[in-house]
């Protein structure tokens, strides 16, 4: 098991694969491979949109026993991520959080927090401080 699996994982879900990949690049630049990271973007036909199967795969790819924080852009990314978390089911679903935070800033700040070994709750709280309450 690599050291990375001890830290909270980050998943980025955008309607656009370019945005998801770009945000992931920014996370990597910040934290290297110290946090598990995966991204997905685009609908099942390759257009702009979201794809629940791809979200499920991204969660698996970024899985950590410490939990996974998901960052989404717009409506469908959030609802499809919720469906994916439900499809994964208990007990693992309790270790997955969909963050109410801006996708790029949220993912980068969450990853920085996660790279220091913070808990899922701490990682999520850090990202969500970016959102007006």
């Amino acid at each position: 098991m690599s050291a990375a699996t001890n830290n909270v994982g980050i998943v980025i879900v955008s309607h656009s694969p370019l945005i998801a990949r770009g945000a992931a690049d920014m996370v990597r630049q910040m934290v290297g491979d110290s946090v598990p990271l995966a991204w997905c973007g685009g609908n099942p036909a390759g257009g702009l949109g979201t794809d629940m199967a791809a979200i499920l795969q991204a969660i698996e790819d970024a899985w950590s026993d410490a939990g996974v924080a998901i960052f989404v852009d717009l409506g469908g990314a959030e609802t499809n991520s919720e469906m994916a978390v439900e499809a994964i089911g208990a007990p693992r679903s309790a270790l997955i959080a969909i963050c109410n935070a801006p996708i790029v800033e949220g993912a980068v700040m969450a990853a920085a927090e996660a790279s220091g070994g913070a808990s899922l709750a701490r990682v999520v709280a850090t990202a969500e401080e970016l959102s007006p309450s």
């Binding site: 099942p44 702009l48 469908g76």
Partner: protein
């Protein structure tokens, strides 16, 4: 015959495969119009997304036809979630999955309307939305009420289209259309439009099936 009783006996009068074909054909016929409605207040892909979902259902119609009705609904819902690729996937998927679960958990035939109501509530929860927000709920909730009142199935398609029409003067409170604020007023909600088309297609198929 009232709609609830007719829907309850539908498996013997209309095949699931035929129902899927009717719904898919209705979406295909109106895909451009749904894209146009979505273009006005959203991202313009609602018709394309729905058609992708119903193409996937059509491809699986033999499997869906072979299952008990509750399992058919759950599986069809899962297929829509996996293929539509927009917020409509989880919304329509939740409707079918929860309807299937409600029917499978022992709701008897004459309680179809309560199963439908449960499923619509689940859609509202999934979308964190309610009636009046200019969404497909503005068709689903009043249709659920009509089912509850044992409304005639012949009249349901016209009523469903009227409910979709009633979203025109509303300001969108959920989804991308809500980003437009007051500018969302004056347009029909694309989700309400596709919902009315599908309800009408199902009702007409059931009605013809029962007459056959």
């Amino acid at each position: 015959m009232n709609a609830t009783a007719q829907i309850a006996q539908s498996p013997v009068s209309v095949s699931i495969g035929a129902l899927i074909e009717r719904c898919r054909s209705e979406i295909a016929t109106h895909a451009d119009r749904l894209n146009g409605l979505d273009c006005a207040i959203g991202d313009g892909d609602h018709g394309t997304n729905m058609l992708r979902g119903f193409d996937a259902l059509l491809a699986e119609r033999e499997l869906l036809n072979a299952l008990p009705i509750d399992e058919t609904l759950v599986e069809a819902g899962r297929i829509l979630v996996m293929t539509i690729g927009g917020a409509s996937g989880p919304l329509y998927g939740t409707l079918l999955i929860e309807l299937g679960r409600a029917l499978g958990s022992g709701v008897v035939n004459n309680e179809f309307s309560s199963a439908f109501q449960q499923a619509v509530d689940a859609v509202a929860k999934r979308g964190k939305s309610k009636g009046g927000d200019k969404t497909l709920l503005d068709v689903l909730y009043p249709v659920a009420d009509l089912l509850d009142e044992q409304h005639d199935i012949e009249g349901l398609p016209g009523m469903a289209f009227a409910f979709a029409e009633s979203t025109v003067p509303l300001q969108a409170m959920r989804g991308r259309a809500s980003f437009l604020g007051e500018r969302s007023i004056g347009h029909m909600d694309p989700g309400a439009a596709s919902c009315a088309l599908l309800i009408a297609a199902v009702c007409r198929a059931l009605n013809e099936g029962c007459r056959a």
